[in-house]
Amino acid sequence: MVAGVKPWPGFVYDFYALLLILHVPKIHSRIFEIFICTTSNLYFGMSPMYSWGVFVLLSLVHVIMTSSVTSRMDDQSENLAAWPFRHLKIPSGHVSRNVKKKNTGIRTFQKKSTTGSQLCQTCSGTVLRRCIQTSSTRHVELTSVRYPDVKRGNYGSVRDSDLATFERLLPGRVLTDSLDGYNTDWLKTCRGASQVVLRPKSTEEVSAILKYCNEKKLAVVPQGGNTGLVGGSVSVFDEIVISTQLMNSIISLDEISGTLVCQAGCVLASLEDYLSNHKLTIPVDLGAKGSCHIGGNVATNAGGVRLLRYGSLHGNVLGLEAVLANGEVVDCLSTLRKDNTGYDLKQLFIGSEGTLGIITAVSLNCPQKPEAVSVAFLGCESFQSVLDIFKESRQKLGEVLSAFEFMDSQTMTVAKENLKLRSPIEDYPFYVLIETSGSNGSHDEEKLSQFLEHVMGTGIVQDGTVATEPTKIQNIWSMRERIAEGLMHDGYCYKYDVSLPLQSFYGLVEAMRERMGTMVTRVIGYGHVGDGNLHLNLTSPEYSTEVMDKIEPFLYDWVANHKGSISAEHGLGFKKKNFIYHSKSKSAVRLMKDIKHTFDPNMILNPYKVLPDF
């Protein structure tokens, strides 16, 4: 034994041991490592202080590793253990099977049995050995990582004192745990890193929260049903999510005028159920009705399938109550059909996507629920036939026409393959869904059968079916309404929603098909052809920057060249804000920025959305 001197690999070995302990997840490996290191130090006669010092140091590191890895590995910045892995972007939901979790351990293992123990698709088990994906949702990349050019604004960060204030304002309704659902959008394409979700119940609470956030310059993102399709409802960095989930009471209903006043967090389908008992109906209807909140619909000026008949929300919203960034409550909650007193402020909030204020209550003009609804599903040969059918239906069905949608054959393939739905008719290149609603069943049936005889006779329709029974109507509508859901089965969906003049309508789909070729799984077109609104979707198994660069800005340029709008009803949100100039002039956007400054000088409301950076 050479006293006091370790052979030259000695110190290097100790350093190596330290690195090993930082990286190795297995507890027994670490303990073994510490043991070897200490004994070798002692064997080679290193001073006891050095040997035991190294032992203490390595043990400390081991203990920190063990406790950190058992905690959620969500927030990488606060997680010491995740620091070596920071470049690998581990999302939550990854669990090392070797680590014994205390409370969540049982849940983890229970989940494991249902989802199967497949290797994590992201790291293939290389990051944490035998890493298992516990959630059934695919791993979604953080927006801040996927879009590295977006820089975090000069906002404050949430501190413990802030959390304490929130807890005082909203006792028991401040969430800091399991925020995956609030952080990921419905399409699973955007993922934020919010640490806090607040759930107020009343306008006063929203006002108090915003006043506080404005003072501390804390950015917020208002969130309703989180069904938006442009990433506008989730955070980009660590904005505070203000959810309207608990603001779901109906304030009043005037049956004679059909005016409904309710809080912004009411789910659309619940409102429809409530109104149908009073023989009324909501003027807006969309596929997301089971989850979306009316506040969100108003904030995004949602279109939907009934726009053809009832018009847009700009016409149907009689009044609203909103809270500005500084906490001031703007009460425009009028229930009057006509009120020409001053500037119509509510129109600014409608479609502002949460950037001018948080809408807390809405007053809607609800039409009578139609007595008789019929749906016809027709098949035809070309897009020109679709336009001919539209012309005929406007003439012959006129005032009872309530929806006119089209789908191409690739869309029907999605319904058949991904959703296992059955088409009522044979395969055709194009399909049209026509809905009529009126107050007299026999009149409508007469109109509809005359119309159908005519279009079948002239040959513009090859085949079709008609339904008047609610179950059959629901089945036919689900083929159109569930397409967005069906597309998710393909992997990643590049979703576009454009307004185009009807003559060049389908040309965009054909142009994209030609351009993308085999780079994508499929290119489909469907939508509210009656409103000139095309939903163009491309899918690929995973997100690919190559595919995205080939689609954008070509698609937007094409739309701009044909004098269309790059976003008909989905809004700009996060994904489309930089293309606003394709559809709006510079002077218009400048004026929008001025308005934003007036409403929200500190820019805390839903930052990084709608307007391009300034």
């Binding site: 079709g464 079916t465 609610p470 179950t471 059959k472 629901q474």
Partner: protein, 255 residues
């Protein structure tokens, strides 16, 4: 061998998607202004008959419906699906409310004899009363074999081989024709009536008869005393231990 002549029973019921409400006077459910459609199991029966015709196992299909005037819509749907002709046995709306499977099965058996039907196919039960009796009673009145809850029907040497869904699993039996069959959910998926067929259906024969034409008396044999909503589900109580559970049960006088 010429094909079977099939008689299919179609009942007009409140549509599956409609929320049923009890009448304020508790004598029944609200049917005025409520959407009705063909009983889903009867749709499956019609579909099976049409498929047998397409396979040339059947030569003619007759649809029958008993009830008020609106039953003709149901029969038109059946005609649009591929049925050849329809018989509507008309009753007053009041009489229809008290009509029971026993009455319907008497009518069906009389029609079957008159039309010289080889097969009678009906849905296993109606979604409004869930009786599950008409098919069986009809078979008994005709003294014909019955194959109920059919999930697969095949022809084998002049007889029918029917796979039935029973509590223990699946049972395959052989039935001699003439027979009564009742359709179960997994027998087939009914087709949507396409426009050309809907227009053709307008020209197919639909005759209206009365129960007395078949010598059937439909005076009610039952009296509906009251119809009520099921009790609203009460919130439950969580207990911490077995002792507490026993105490609470004793308090409620249940133990």
């Amino acid at each position: 061998m010429s094909g079977f002549r099939i008689l299919v029973g179609c009942k007009r019921v409140i549509d599956y998607a409609v929320k049923v409400r009890v009448k304020p006077d508790k004598t029944g459910v609200v049917t005025e202004g409520v959407k009705h459609s063909m009983n889903p199991f009867d749709e499956i029966a019609v579909e099976e008959a049409v498929r047998m015709k397409e396979k040339k196992l059947a030569s003619e299909i007759i649809a029958v419906s008993c009830g008020p005037q609106q039953c003709q819509e149901t029969l038109r749907t059946a005609l649009a699906m591929g049925v050849d002709r329809a018989i509507h046995v008309i009753t007053e709306p009041k009489e229809y409310e008290s009509m029971q499977p026993i009455h319907v099965s008497k009518i069906l058996s009389k029609i079957a004899t008159e039309e010289k039907a080889d097969l009678v196919i009906v849905g296993k039960q109606a979604i409004d009363d869930d009786c599950n009796q008409t098919g069986q009673m009809t078979a008994s009145l005709l003294d014909w074999p019955q194959a109920t809850f059919a999930s697969k029907i095949e022809k084998s040497n002049g007889d029918l081989s029917v796979m039935r869904e029973i509590d223990g699993g699946l049972e395959t039996i052989k039935v001699k024709v003439p027979a009564v069959l009742t359709s179960d959910l997994r027998l087939n998926e009914p087709r949507y009536a396409t426009l050309p067929n809907i227009m053709k259906a307008k020209k197919k024969p639909l005759v209206t008869k009365k129960p007395s034409d078949y010598g059937v008396d439909i005076t009610p044999r039952q009296e509906i005393v009251s119809v009520e909503d099921p009790p609203v589900r009460q919130a439950g109580q969580k207990v911490e231990s077995v002792e507490e559970l026993v105490t609470k049960l004793k308090e409620a006088g249940l133990v």
